[in-house]
Subunit: 275 residues, 2 copies
């Protein structure tokens, strides 16, 4: 891929991955995508905390935390002013073929660093489409940033012909879940609403930061099951992820939103934070 | 993994897989598991046909069919009397990071050959547990043997403490879907019932062979949405996959089945087939 500045597999630079890795065979693992600014991995501890919780939920024993941190440090030493740090942990190479996660080999960690371009053209808000593909709800792995991402891939494929910045994803139950690679927030009556992530969706780190900073700024915020009609009846909307931060939404389909002071306050407050 | 007799990545023996392969990054690909007896890959054309239909559904352009067949031939040349041939096709390495399946690099094919032990102790039927994990229904990728298999992995993890041969998987709607790595059939009133695979589950090649051979033998067979109660109210049950063929089920939880002439007839008729 273009933009790759370095890649380490279990600490070995440029190493490939054995073809019998369970990440490749089954998507048996987790990942994190972290923005790096001036050599600092933003919200690193929040990302590592989420990773640790995910490993526990998938019962992936991972004891290489210090080695993972050492590889992250090596990657950051090489970071251009703006970069993406991607971490993948797989269950490693199994003792034998088959779904059952027999132990025997340790988990594998893959650290890669990518150059990134500054985000431009989003200050006035972005446009969202609505994906045809529906996310199954409930998912046994709701909240996790796991490696089974075919739904996101095919929703992104569907969106490639569209000029929209992102697509809203709905669940099979008709609930608003998120974007393809972001979480979403509605602004209504001076407060924030965001879909829960306990039945479907990913518990984004930037989503967590928004909820934390909203509390700090005294902005009411809560999780609520939302439908598309709720989107259209809101005062404003914004999307979030580690890469883009907080980005206002100008339009969803034919519905045009105004700019929201709340979104801009949160964006500006979070923009200066690294932890 | 133990038992590996050979592995080819895009025709290169023993080659690893680049860590930025989309199969590893997102589970963006498909696979086939094929039984090899005396150097013959059983039902190979049915497996390749399913693979081709899956590639079309995921819009993965794959033009290396002749090279894939050449690699399969090389693997088969090395096959012990009983072996497993595994094929994986991923969308390859993308031009850039992100879910969108930008073209630019061709799909990647991975062929591996594994020794296999004869299946023993199943003649009198096997015991099935019932997994706690529920498969989300409907899935946008129902029927496909794709690389997003975390549900199967975690259901297999759950079953590891049990002495049962396999676990029945139910969907979030309460429907019987399959086993963890097999399809299932109920015998009732001299005919066969099997769950449809258009909303959840995998369209197994051995399932397809059973339906074909049932028609040939004049055994009525149809797809029907089934619940666990239907299992308990059936005369008999059997499970199927490419590895095990047709295996009668003796017991599901506390419910004990008798032996079914229909299951044994189908098993014996299919056992001698290679195509």
């Amino acid at each position: 891929m273009s933009g790759l500045r370095g890649l380490w597999v279990d600490g070995i630079e440029g190493a490939p991955v054995p073809a019998d890795d369970r990440g490749l065979q089954y998507g048996d693992g987790l990942f994190e995508t972290i923005l790096v600014r001036n050599g600092v991995a933003r919200f690193l501890e929040l990302h590592l905390g989420r990773l640790e919780r995910g490993l526990a939920r998938l019962s992936i024993p991972f004891v290489d935390g210090p080695r993972l941190r050492a590889d992250i440090s090596r990657a950051l030493d090489r970071a251009p002013p703006l970069a993406i740090l991607k971490l993948i942990i797989t269950r490693g190479t199994a003792e034998r073929r088959g779904y059952a996660p027999t132990t025997g080999s340790p988990a594998r960690h893959i650290v890669s660093l990518w150059s990134a371009a500054p985000l431009t053209g989003v200050e006035q808000g972005v446009e969202l489409g609505v994906a045809q593909l529906r996310l199954p709800e409930p998912s046994p792995f709701a909240g996790l940033k796991h490696l089974n991402r075919l739904e996101n891939v095919m929703a992104a494929a569907e969106a490639m012909a569209s000029p929209a910045f992102e697509s809203l994803l709905l669940s099979t139950a008709g609930h608003v879940v998120s974007g393809i690679a972001c979480n979403c927030f509605l602004v209504r009556s001076g407060g924030l609403l965001t879909p829960p992530v306990d039945r479907v969706g990913v518990a984004g780190v930037m989503r967590q930061v928004v909820l934390r900073e909203a509390a700090r700024l005294g902005i009411p915020a809560r999780e609520q099951v939302l439908e598309l009609q709720d989107v259209f009846e809101s005062d404003a909307m914004f999307i979030t992820n580690a890469r883009i931060g907080v980005v206002p939404v100008r339009r969803v389909r034919e519905h045009v939103f105004g700019m929201s002071d709340i979104a801009l306050r949160l964006r500006d407050a979070i923009e200066v934070l690294d932890a």
